[in-house]
């Protein structure tokens, strides 16, 4: 990224304009990071510190938010708590300081697991089907090709809530409501349109001569596809997969309307983490951090594929 940006820099930027540019860009980046850093910090605050005025920058860190995130608790009287004997674990101790007793695990771990299963499941399917379709569209004469491609893209213009109405009715009939399979199919369909467009662009870039040479060497068309074309598409597939995964990971509207107890993912769950008798901001912040962190790490590690996907996808369309 950095190598490229210097290579294409415009004109002869003098040293001091570079300095001003650097200061402004870094300044924007730092300001843009404040909300995220603040949320990360709030996860380690105690509930009273999280609503202190003025906002506390320095505080005594505690894991209460994380404990609250993963457990359900109930408020008890002092006598009852004393009757339980000494706390067995550090998290029992932490909770008892607030006159509470842990009654069990919370649903967060379940929701997180659902997010992983549905996210990866739908990404795999969308990329798999998308690769095949992209190759088909790129290499073969398909009747009404342009219409089909346009139709595939136009499905993304529907507001998700509008799509959710008939899907809700359909899933109710088919028994797919609140199932991981239903969500995987739905996310696959939503992601497919983007996947096909992105991947078709990547296939178009691979010269046909490679396959033709392979066919001359005795490969069938099919072998040529998976032994010659597919390896060339790797980075394109990776970029596409990242996009599909991020969409499925972040999706909220369908998850809210079509799942409840079984297949609910993390996004509809995080806003409703409440503590006993009050909104538990440290637990919300902890949940947010645990949920967002993989995406942040992903973004930093895979930035080149990401950038390729975003710009390439947009320009192709």
């Amino acid at each position: 990224m950095s190598a490229r940006s210097t290579a294409y820099s415009v004109g002869e930027s003098s040293t001091w304009t570079k300095w001003i540019a650097a200061v402004l860009v870094i300044g924007y980046a730092l300001v843009a990071m404040i909300p995220l850093v603040w949320i990360g910090m709030t996860g380690f605050k105690s509930p009273p510190d999280s609503i202190a005025y003025p906002p506390k920058v320095f505080f005594e860190p505690t894991l209460e938010g994380y404990v609250n995130l993963f457990t359900t608790r109930s408020r008890q009287t002092d006598e009852y708590i004393e009757s339980l004997g000494p706390p067995e674990t550090w998290y029992d101790e932490l909770v008892r300081e607030r006159n509470m007793v842990i009654t069990g695990p919370s649903r967060f771990a379940d929701r997180y697991k659902n997010s992983i299963v549905i996210g990866f499941g739908s990404t795999f399917l969308a990329v798999f089907l998308g690769t095949l379709a992209a190759y088909g569209f790129s290499r073969f004469k398909v009747p009404l090709k342009d219409d089909l491609l346009f139709f595939i893209l136009s499905t993304r213009m529907m507001p998700p809530i509008a799509v959710a109405i008939p899907i809700f009715l359909m899933y109710r009939e088919l028994g797919l409501s609140d199932t991981a399979l239903g969500m995987i199919l739905l996310y696959t369909a939503v992601n497919l349109s983007l996947a096909v467009w992105l991947l078709k662009g990547f296939v178009d870039e691979i010269p046909r001569e490679y396959e033709e040479a392979a066919v001359v060497d005795g490969y069938t068309r099919f072998q040529a596809f998976y032994k010659v074309v597919l390896p060339q598409m790797r980075s394109g597939i990776a970029a596409t997969a990242i996009f599909c995964l991020i969409f499925a990971w972040n999706e909220y509207a369908f998850a809210l309307l079509l799942t409840s107890g079984e297949a609910q993912t993390a996004p509809p769950f995080i806003p409703i983490i409440i503590g006993e008798g009050g909104l538990d901001w440290p637990a919300v912040a902890a949940g947010t951090t645990v949920f967002l962190l993989p995406v942040v790490i992903f973004t930093v590690l895979l930035r080149n594929q990401l950038l390729r996907g975003i710009t390439f996808g947009a320009i192709r369309k």
């Binding site: 950095s2 490229r4 949320i39 213009m157 109405i165 899907i167 068309r221 997969a241 967002l292 930035r303």
Partner: protein, 316 residues
């Protein structure tokens, strides 16, 4: 979790076609392979996108309610549409949506283009900072909306606190005040999505061959002229594309705003999609909501088509 994991997707896709199947496929004609490859996608999109769309259109002419299965479904012609288009409230939601759409686009284009031009100066570590700036757009909008409610708390929130360290304006009630709430959602969206516009502008800037500037240099063009006659025309298609995609997304906006304001105070931030959700999944007026959905779809489609025409003219 780096490239390796991702590459395995490709491997897996290859492996998912076992030898025996491949052998059977050997004799297939190109045409057969083409259909074999394309049809699963078409079938899935038909089942989960097109069939539902047609069903929605049908439902929009009925009085169907999804929560009353036993009730007789009556064809009521265009009554749902008449009600929608004659409703003052619906126009209010459309106006709220338009305010959100226009201002997010204006702010994001200005800031995004500015950032892209600065980054393109190519200072050291600009790659790293670009990545940092990108982070907000990768996050879940619903979760972003949730934690911004915390940042926006008038008394204890950091947003009001930071503003007050610069200008004494008192506790800022961003979500609760009628005049500020429409801007509260614009600010969060701008925070999230400016990087996207910036990125596409960067792609545009990098597509400009350096010799154009060298030629301008010889003609003694000043910086403003260079920007106006070389940079802007070249990046305009990129910028317009970015606005198209963001515009469509923001017209459909639901998740971030519903978690941030849930449409309030009153109905000041009740965007079209938020009201659609209330009608469809809280009031369960399925027929009426379907008509609303169709109207929204037609509007996006119409606006986007006009826009694409303009875009093509710019491109050529």
């Amino acid at each position: 979790m780096s490239g390796g994991a991702m590459e395995s997707v490709a491997d897996a896709a290859a492996r998912a076609t076992p030898k025996r199947v491949a052998g059977r496929l050997r004799g297939l004609s190109d045409r057969a392979i083409a259909w074999l490859f394309i049809s699963p996608t078409i079938v899935l999109l038909l089942a989960i996108n097109i069939f539902p769309l047609l069903w929605t259109v049908y439902l929009s002419f009925t009085n169907y309610r999804a929560n009353q299965p036993g009730r007789e479904v009556k064809w009521i012609g265009t009554r749902n549409y008449e009600r929608l288009l004659g409703s003052e409230d619906v126009w209010g939601y459309m106006q709220a949506t338009a305010h959100f759409l226009v201002w997010t686009m204006v702010l994001q284009v200005i800031i995004g283009l500015g950032l892209a031009l600065l980054i393109n100066r190519g200072f050291r570590t600009s790659g790293f900072w670009t990545t940092v700036i990108l982070i907000p757009m990768m996050l879940s909008p619903a979760v972003v909306g949730t934690f911004w409610t915390y940042l926006y708390q008038p008394q204890t929130g950091i947003f009001s606190y930071i503003i007050n360290t610069f200008v004494e304006v008192g506790a800022l009630n961003m979500i609760g005040s009628v005049s500020l709430a429409p801007w509260a959602i614009v600010i969060v969206d701008t925070w999230m999505w400016t990087p996207y516009i910036m990125l596409l502008c960067l792609a545009g800037l990098r597509s400009i061959p350096p010799y154009l500037y060298e030629a301008a240099e010889i003609d003694r063009a000043n910086a403003l002229q260079k920007f106006w006659y070389i940079t802007l025309p070249r990046i305009l298609p990129f910028l317009m594309l970015a606005v198209l995609f963001r515009g469509i997304e923001n017209f459909k906006m639901f998740d971030m705003v519903v978690e941030l304001t849930s449409g309030g105070p009153g109905s000041t931030t009740e965007l079209a999609s938020i009201n659609l959700k209330r009608e469809a999944f809280e009031k369960w007026r399925t027929g009426y909501a379907s008509a609303f959905a169709v109207i929204l779809f037609v509007t996006v489609f119409g606006l986007a088509s006009i826009y694409v025409k303009a875009l093509n003219r710019v491109r050529s």
